[in-house]
Amino acid sequence: MNTKNIFNLIRRYFIESGRKDITTFVLIVLTITLISFFSVSGSISDSLMVFLLFLMGVVYAGRIFNIFQPVGRAIHYLTIPASNIEKTIANGILVYIYYNILLIVALLLGNFLGGMAHKLLAPEFHYIFYMPFSLDNLILTLVFESIFLFGSIYFKQHAAIKTALVLLAFFLFFIILDTTLVGSYFIHSNPESIKEAENVFNNINGDLIEYTVSILAFIFFNFMTWLRLRETEA
């Protein structure tokens, strides 16, 4: 592995797509400014934030790996002199670090501008500075992005939509599983055993499990992305 190749790949991205990113950045800032200006607290809600992160993950990951149509573009990308792992890492750096920094800056800036504008028109309004990032959000974002990154290389056409659909199906499956299997178990059991189960759950550190599973999923999907890139033909 050669860091110079990774650097060159990232540099290539900025030369080819840097301008598009500035436009996107301005658009996000404007949107957040408007949302936070019209919101009651001058701030944006946590769930809206997650939704925005999710949306941007889709857009960005789709853009990064939008390389396999048409064939000429795929050949061009696959013959760029860098190994498959260097290409995977370069894309990872762009999605997980660069895009997220861009997004956080846009959120803070938009929120600040919207809040200030609100305060200017209504001086009695008490502006609360919103810190959009918690560790939970960050981990959730990374996992989502890794899934979309994989999806965008797995599906050659309309990768973002297909990945979203697969994810949706996946969640539905779990909801059904949860309500039917787990639900029926608790319905047919007595209150004491429910309490017992709750105790078991409480003794385990929930956050730790969640983080571990998330990190494993993140590693898994990046590994799959690399594998898929290796076996891609054009």
């Binding site: 030369i15 048409p70 000429g72 050949i75 696959l78 760029i80 002199p81 290796r230 076996e231 033909e233």
Partner: protein
Amino acid sequence: MIQLQNINFSYHKGRTIFDDLSLSLEGGHIYGLFGKNGAGKTTLLKIIAGLRFPKSGSSTTLGQRAALRKAEMLKNLYFLQEEVYVPAISIRDYVKCYAPFYENFDNEQFEEYLHLFEITSMDDKLTALSHGQRKKVIISFALATNTKILLMDEPTNGLDIPSKGIFRKIMTMAANEDRLILISTHQVRDLHCLIDAVVILDNGHILLNASADDITDKLCFKITDDTGTDEPILYCEENLRGNLLVTENIHHIETKLDIELLFNAVMLNKERINELFNAKN
């Protein structure tokens, strides 16, 4: 530099493209790769570049398994597509973007080739150029990378008549004793005097892989009025200037290789050609 051994390949729909194909190519030559439509010329180039994986057999390029697409291999290989892909950036930015990947990229050469092709502005967006203009830029770039292997798929398609002449000139400038250039094409006239080795692909096999010297040593290409010759005739074609003949070279007369006649002669006499050229092995 390029080794294909017992390659079998077919696309998903089942038609066999290569059936136990073997081919070995060395540096210092400009090879012409010929074959009928659908013979698999582009696929062969793709297998060499590691873009397609053979179902069985091995494809080794610059000592590495081609399908691994290692950086060391890709740094020394350029694949020029028939329809070149260009991003929406200027020529100047394209060089800034991609030249750093190629250690031996020579900017002076690049500018000289562009100049010969009469492309003057480095600030034009590639996507705003016509297909032919784009191709000239990418050909110039490909040659200036100075990679050890250069694979070219129909390089003169889409070039206007004067540009084809310039292309030939530039190719002689870019060829050297280490470089392996493999040109796949139907436009044999465009390669006139340029190639010094011929590879003919047919029906999943390599029918001929021989240097031009070897070919003119074994075969005669001539125009005659009289049809009387004591040499076995492999191919004959009538023409205003007389009969165009390909015969076996019994009297050891050195004639000029005519690729078109050679191709037709090879297609008509597959077995005899095989005997003539592979006897020494």
